[in-house]
């Protein structure tokens, strides 16, 4: 069971890092609370939802998606700084089960994604957000977010592996993840976006995940009236996107890892 032990040890190592790295810790604790309050009270005062409904109820699913997306950056930064130091070499000379480095990282990411989601959800509940669906459906909504967060962490693992340094991973990550989070239906309805942007937003995996969660939470989901396929079948689209990303990025990450650690 060396494989399992290596996996547990390295997962824990990544969790310890998040606890001790103030920036990463704030990414999954302070930032979710802050974003939730800012968006609900600042944006919420100006956004009128097509078909009615409260912005607060609309926004929490979107904020969950946005926070998970932007905090996925930690994966890229963490892995690339590990690769830049000699710590991976140390693991290699200890005959550590090779996939444990990456899989351990991704497991830690799911746990942090869960923490991040909990902060958003609790903040939401405190300010009056209510999921109206059944308990099972609500849990399913969170499940979708965690699945997507897991998929995203494999994408970010690839980014970490091709980055020359933690700083460059951070800046490239920002350029990819922020538009991914924002050009979506997460924070504003897509109806009034310019046509090109709207098409992108409607096919953005973040939109599918957000819509799926809104459906499961029985929260307002204006995107339901949009004809784009993912908006008509958000749950299926969210699962397909996530599974597809894992299918592409997990093998790619392990290939890149092998390449980075072979000379």
């Amino acid at each position: 069971m060396k494989e399992l032990r290596d996996l547990v040890v390295l997962t824990r190592r990544n969790l310890v890092h998040i606890k001790r790295e103030p920036l990463q810790l704030s990414d999954v604790t302070v930032q979710p609370v802050l974003f939730t309050l800012l968006f609900v009270y600042v944006f919420g005062s100006g956004v009128v939802l097509p078909g009615g409904g409260s912005y607060k109820d609309f926004a929490i699913a979107g904020l969950l998606a946005m926070n998970l997306t932007t905090s996925a950056m930690g994966t890229a930064v963490g892995l690339s700084s590990d690769l830049g130091s000699g710590v991976i070499d140390r693991f290699r000379t200890l005959a550590v089960w090779r996939p444990a480095v990456l899989v351990g990282r991704s497991f830690a990411d799911v746990l942090t994604a869960a923490i991040c989601s909990a902060f958003v959800a609790v903040t939401g509940l405190l300010i009056g957000w209510r999921p109206e669906g059944t308990l099972l459906a609500t849990l399913g909504g969170f499940g979708i977010f965690l699945l997507f967060g897991y998929a995203l962490s494999w994408g970010c693992a690839c980014l970490g592996m091709i980055s020359k340094s933690a700083e460059s991973a951070q800046s490239v990550g920002l350029v990819i993840l922020f538009p991914l989070a924002i050009v979506s239906n997460a924070l504003v309805p897509t109806e009034h976006m310019p046509a090109a942007l709207r098409t992108i937003a409607d096919w953005n995996p973040v939109s599918a995940v957000t819509s799926a969660a809104r459906e499961l939470f029985s929260n307002p989901n204006p995107s339901a009236s949009i004809h784009a396929w993912p908006m008509q079948h958000p749950l299926l689209a969210a699962v397909l996107w996530s599974v597809g990303m894992i299918a592409v990025f997990a093998p790619l990450a392990s290939h890149l890892y092998r390449r980075r650690t072979t000379d």
């Binding site: 060396k2 032990r5 290596d6 040890v9 390295l10 190592r13 310890v16 890092h17 001790r20 790295e21 130091s85 000699g86 710590v87 070499d89 140390r90 693991f91 290699r92 000379t93 200890l94 005959a95 550590v96 072979t262 000379d263």
Partner: protein
């Protein structure tokens, strides 16, 4: 023939157009220390990376503790401890957490891993700092912890890549002490260094490498012998034309006299008390001397003689690690 714990034949490694290793042979008998000496970029780290399974050779082969480093990498990994040049521990974890993690990853259960960590922290004088995060450690403490990390599983073969580079003299002396202690336990050790005094101090045998090739090898004494014996230098209070003749019986070659006639140099066979004998002889001839020195050739001299370029200076400013015998 003694058992070889480390043996390499014809190791070659290229990075693009750069030849890092150009056919290196190494042999380290069980229980001995090999010092691999060379300047920056000589190929020391590349050789260590290949021997520790981190890098694959382009040509040649190597066995460590009887296992092939390419075909039986996992078996090799179970037998070795490695202390690399770069920091290979976790900055955001404490010294203790690092050692426990390494123990766990080496296959120890939780309790034995914790016990071993405690033992190593005590052995390396890090007990007080055990629960501080590594990022608060000094350079010397880090190196010691890094070395401790290589010892968690009590491996029979150790690789230390420049264990004292960048350390202050006190930390360096402490590290040497620790390394000597390891060898007393019967560990086989390969140590790379840029510092000749370090190789001289610690190693049983030394190989000198430059541009990816072994250019000389032997004990420190053998290497010194390769560039000739000791050198006598006499400084007179005032020039005396008869001084050279008075030295004849002690020297092993021609006596060279400086322009001002006050300094004389000659190769000698080094014997105990030579400087004193020389002073007495000159005194007997009524020649007064300011200074008499017998220089043992340093490994710097060896390196210069072998490669035509000098090595990097020691960190503590002792560029010449010469054994001096000075008589005022």
């Amino acid at each position: 023939m003694t058992d070889l714990m480390i043996e390499a034949q014809g190791l070659e490694k290229r990075f693009g157009a750069t030849v890092a290793l150009d056919g290196i042979d190494l042999e380290v008998p069980a229980g001995s220390i090999l010092g691999v000496l060379g300047p920056n970029g000589a190929g020391k780290t590349t050789a260590v990376r290949i021997l520790t399974t981190l890098s694959l050779p382009d040509a040649g082969s190597a066995r460590v503790a009887g296992h092939d480093v390419v075909g039986e990498a996992v078996e090799v990994q179970r037998k070795i401890g490695v202390t690399a040049q770069d920091a290979t521990l976790d900055e955001l974890m404490s010294g203790r957490e690092n050692l426990v993690m390494i123990g766990r990853l080496s296959g120890l259960r939780r309790t034995p891993a914790a016990a071993r960590a405690r033992e190593l922290l005590a052995q390396f004088g890090l007990t007080d700092a055990a629960d501080r995060l590594l990022k608060t450690y000094s350079g010397g403490m880090r190196r010691r912890l890094d070395l401790a990390a290589g010892l968690v599983t009590r491996p029979p073969v150790l690789f230390l890549d420049e264990p004292t580079t960048g350390l202050d003299p006190t930390s360096r002396a402490r590290m040497w002490e620790v390394i000597r202690g390891l060898v007393a336990d019967g560990v086989t050790l390969l140590l790379t260094t840029q510092y000749l005094d370090e190789a001289d101090e610690l190693a049983d045998r030394i190989v000198v490498i430059d541009h990816g090739r072994v250019i000389a090898g032997g004990t420190a004494a053998e290497l010194k012998a390769q560039i000739g014996g000791a050198r006598l230098e006499v400084t007179l209070s005032e020039p005396r034309p008869d001084a050279a003749a008075a030295l004849e019986e002690f020297v092993a070659g021609p006596v060279h006299v400086s322009h001002d006639g006050r300094r004389l140099r000659a190769p000698v066979r080094s014997v105990a008390g030579l400087a004193t004998t020389v002073v007495r002889a000159l005194d007997g001839a009524a020649i007064t001397v300011d200074d008499v020195e017998v220089h043992q050739p340093s490994l710097d001299d060896v390196f210069f003689a072998l490669t035509g370029h000098p090595t990097a200076p020691s960190p503590d400013g002792e560029e010449t690690a010469q054994a001096k015998e000075v008589v005022a």
